[in-house]
Each structure stands twice: as structure tokens, then as C-alpha cells.
């Protein structure tokens, strides 16, 4: 009921002996120690555990760790990789726009939005709201999250 897996997360390889029923979200947090990925509902509704699998946002609570072998995973820890203390432009925009309060949902939002940032400047508010509909936030009322995405997208487009 267990097997050896090697998962690649943020370019690092993690070789572990795990039970096959172990959820990817639990591998990321408890085996790899990457606690930036948060676990909310554990049935695919809240979006807090969203990570990128081969560049695409997915729910890590709806995947088994063994299924991720051979794929490239990316978590929130990688967003500002190589930037030192500096934040990723999206994180910076969330910070400036007050796009978070308690911050529990934030990693999921960031990992959902980041792949579409390059084209987000062309999206209207309705389209942005549709794009984040798979992530729940109980603090902000979403208004400042939408503002943060617009700010980050504009900055990315301007190249500043």
C-alpha cells in the first residue's frame, strides 16, 4: 500500500516512501515541508491548495501524490525564486492593494492567477472575477483582489 515516489517541486526533487492514498497537498506540506500551500476544504471547493502542475493550476487536494510523479510542480514558494527579499509583482500588488487580510486563501489565488497575468491586462472586471471564481476568500469581498490583479497585470504589460 505504499511506494517510493520522486516528486519535482519548484525544481527540487523529493524522494519519499509514501502511502498511495496520500494526497498531493499533504505530500507538499508534510513530506516536502512546503507549508505555503494551504489546505482548506479538502474536497476541491475552496481553492486554497491550488498549485501548478506542468504550469497549469490544479487542486492539490484532488490529486494523489503518486500521480504527480514525472510532472513538474510549482508552489507559492517559487513565485519570487531568485528575487531575494523582493516579492513577485503579483504578491507586491496584493500587498499594496490590500488584496488579503488573514492570508489563508492567498497562495491559492496567486497560483491560480499567475499563469494568466501576461494576458490579464486585456481582461475586464467580469472576466477577472470569472477567472478567480474557483478560489474562495472570506475576508476581502474580492474587490481588492480584483484591484490587485489589475495592478499587477498593468505593471507586467508596462514591463515595470
Amino acid at each position: 500500500m505504499s511506494r517510493k515516489v520522486t516528486l519535482e517541486i519548484n525544481g527540487e526533487r523529493y524522494e519519499r516512501e509514501v502511502e498511495e492514498r496520500l494526497l498531493l497537498s499533504d505530500f507538499i506540506r508534510h513530506e516536502a515541508g512546503l507549508t505555503g500551500t494551504h489546505v482548506g476544504c479538502e474536497h476541491g471547493v475552496c481553492g486554497a491548495c491550488t498549485v501548478q502542475l506542468d504550469g497549469e493550476p490544479v487542486r492539490s487536494c484532488l490529486l494523489l501524490a503518486v500521480q504527480a510523479e514525472g510532472h513538474q510542480l510549482r508552489t507559492v514558494e517559487d513565485l519570487n525564486a531568485g528575487m531575494g527579499e523582493e516579492l513577485h509583482p503579483l504578491q507586491q500588488a496584493f500587498h499594496e492593494s490590500h488584496g488579503l487580510q488573514c492570508g489563508f486563501c492567498t497562495p491559492g489565488f496567486l497560483m491560480s492567477i499567475e499563469p494568466m497575468l501576461n494576458t490579464a491586462a486585456d481582461l475586464d472586471e467580469g472576466e477577472i472575477r470569472a477567472a478567480i471564481s474557483g478560489n474562495l476568500c472570506r475576508c476581502t469581498g474580492y474587490q481588492n483582489i480584483v484591484s490587485a490583479i489589475q495592478l499587477a497585470a498593468t505593471r507586467m504589460q508596462d514591463g515595470s
Binding site: R21, L62, R129
Partner: protein, 286 residues
């Protein structure tokens, strides 16, 4: 909120899957995209002894159009269908339906075949496939059989797929050129399960109407289809067809809406879908 222990197999070919199912079919569940099954595992509402993961079966992940027919491999992701330019252009009803499935993170992983095999009557893809008279290719050790959408869905969360069988692909014939189409549904929040909905296709006087969440399976409103065949579709005839479509149905009520509310809603969705489809009828897809 963690799955109960299970034995896990991840075969690489359809033949290997069939071999595993021949031996363990009764105690196993097939894992495709997992966007419905894994929540059930996490809640322990499903506790199969074995999970047969078909995500590493490369021969099942295709989406292709050959001789005009769209063939969707069992593990073709919903996002693949959504982003397919040829599928969107030639099968716009499927495109409109898949856009309404949950959220992008779910569609990146969820499969068309998995949604069909899960057979939730409130899911969009089974309703669209029913409206399009899709065919389901099912394989077991004793060979392949093909089942039409009218037979495929048996009841709530149940299809005709036997424990030793695997849904390998879904085929959809091309709609007549310029056919009118519409998928309309109402949900409280974007991406939530809809409380009611309808898929419509209009072509050459033929009317097809499939209802979402009105019964234990996707339901073709045959009486309304026949009454409207060859008729001019306007606000009045569309409203009548909506009434006819829900005359015999009794949707189940729950905390999100009573059965009667859902019935009224379904009639309205039929009317809206008919009018939208009529408006699009005869126009080439963009």
C-alpha cells in the same frame, strides 16, 4: 478527510487496464480526472478496495476529428476540449457546455469521459452529449460495444458500464452546418452546480432538447421536441415547449431550491435556450 486505504494500480495501456478490471472489476473504481471521485474518497463516501488510475494510459488522452466525427478519448481533459479550436468551431454546443463546468482549475484536470461515466444528472457534459446523440465506446476482455446516449445513462450516478468494462472514447457526429444551439443554465454562483438547465440543437426542422438536473439522468424532452418539430420558434412556442418539457418531470428539491422551483426554472431555461438557438440557427459558427 483522507481517503481510506486502497490498492493502487496505474497501468500504461488499455489492455493492461482491461486485464486489471477482468480480475478486480467488482472491487475497484477507475480514477480519471478525479475531480468528483477524489472528494468522495476524501469524505470516505467511496471506499473502493482498488483504484485503477488511467491517467498514465497515453492512448486514451486524445481529442480528434476524423471523417467529420469528433472522438474524445477517455482521459481527454475538459480544458483540452475547451481550448480546442476545431471542437469549439464545429461543436459549439459542447464548447458552451464545457465553459460552464466548475472552475478552470477543475477543468485542467477533469476529463470529459470521467464526467460522462460519473453520470451526475446536474453535470453539463452528460446533458450536452445527450443532446448531441453521442456514442460511448466501452471495452472489456470480451470486446468493444457501442452504446447511444439514450441508453448509456441508467440512473443517478450510474451508467451501463459494467465493473469489468472501461469507457475508452466518446464519439459525436457533426451537427448540420449552421445548426442553432444553446446551453442555458442557472446557478447561484459562477461554477456551482446548476439548479436547472437545458441544451438545445435546432437543424433542418429537427429540434433536440436535453434537460439538466430534472431527472435521475440527463433527460431528452421528446414530447416537446416532437411538438416543436418543423414549427417556427418564437417567444410563444418556446414557452409552450418549456411547459411541455417539464410536464412529466419531478426534480428533487433540496436546500438550494424546492422541486417545484427547479421545475419552473427548467421550463424557463428551455425557453431561453430555444430562443437563443433559434437566433443562432442558420448562422455559420464564428
Amino acid at each position: 478527510m483522507k481517503p481510506a486505504p486502497f490498492e493502487y494500480r496505474d497501468p500504461r495501456t488499455v489492455d493492461e487496464v482491461i486485464d486489471v478490471l477482468a480480475e478486480h472489476g467488482e472491487d475497484s473504481k477507475i480514477l480519471a480526472g478525479g475531480q468528483s471521485l477524489v472528494p468522495l474518497l476524501n469524505f470516505r463516501l467511496a471506499q473502493p478496495a482498488m483504484l485503477v488510475d488511467i491517467n498514465r494510459v497515453e492512448e486514451l488522452s486524445f481529442l480528434r476529428c476524423s471523417a467529420g466525427v469528433l472522438t474524445i478519448g477517455a482521459t481527454c481533459r475538459q480544458a483540452t476540449l475547451e481550448q480546442s479550436i476545431f471542437a469549439q468551431a464545429r461543436w459549439p454546443l459542447l464548447g458552451e457546455a464545457v465553459d460552464l463546468v466548475a472552475h478552470s482549475q477543475i477543468r485542467n484536470r477533469g476529463t470529459v469521459g470521467g464526467s460522462a461515466a460519473h453520470a451526475d444528472p446536474a453535470a453539463e457534459l452528460p446533458v450536452a452529449l445527450s443532446c448531441l446523440d453521442a456514442r460511448f465506446n466501452i471495452r472489456s476482455a470480451s470486446g468493444t460495444r457501442t452504446v447511444g446516449a439514450d441508453e448509456f445513462f441508467s440512473t443517478h450516478l450510474t451508467t451501463v458500464i459494467e465493473p469489468d468494462e472501461l469507457l475508452v472514447s466518446i464519439e459525436v457526429d457533426p451537427p448540420p452546418a449552421g445548426a442553432g444551439y444553446a446551453f442555458c443554465e442557472y446557478s447561484r454562483r459562477h461554477g456551482d452546480f446548476a439548479l436547472g438547465g437545458a441544451a438545445v440543437q435546432l437543424a433542418d426542422g429537427e429540434v433536440r432538447i436535453a434537460l439538466l438536473g430534472a431527472s435521475d439522468t440527463p433527460l431528452r424532452a421528446t414530447e416537446a421536441e416532437q411538438a416543436l418539430a418543423g414549427q417556427q420558434i418564437d417567444a410563444e412556442t418556446a414557452a409552450e415547449a418549456g411547459e411541455l418539457a417539464v410536464r412529466e418531470v419531478e426534480p428533487t428539491g433540496d436546500i438550494h431550491g424546492s422541486g417545484e422551483y427547479r421545475r419552473r426554472l427548467t421550463a424557463t431555461m428551455v425557453k431561453r435556450a430555444l430562443l437563443l438557438a433559434a437566433d443562432r440557427d442558420g448562422r455559420e459558427a464564428a
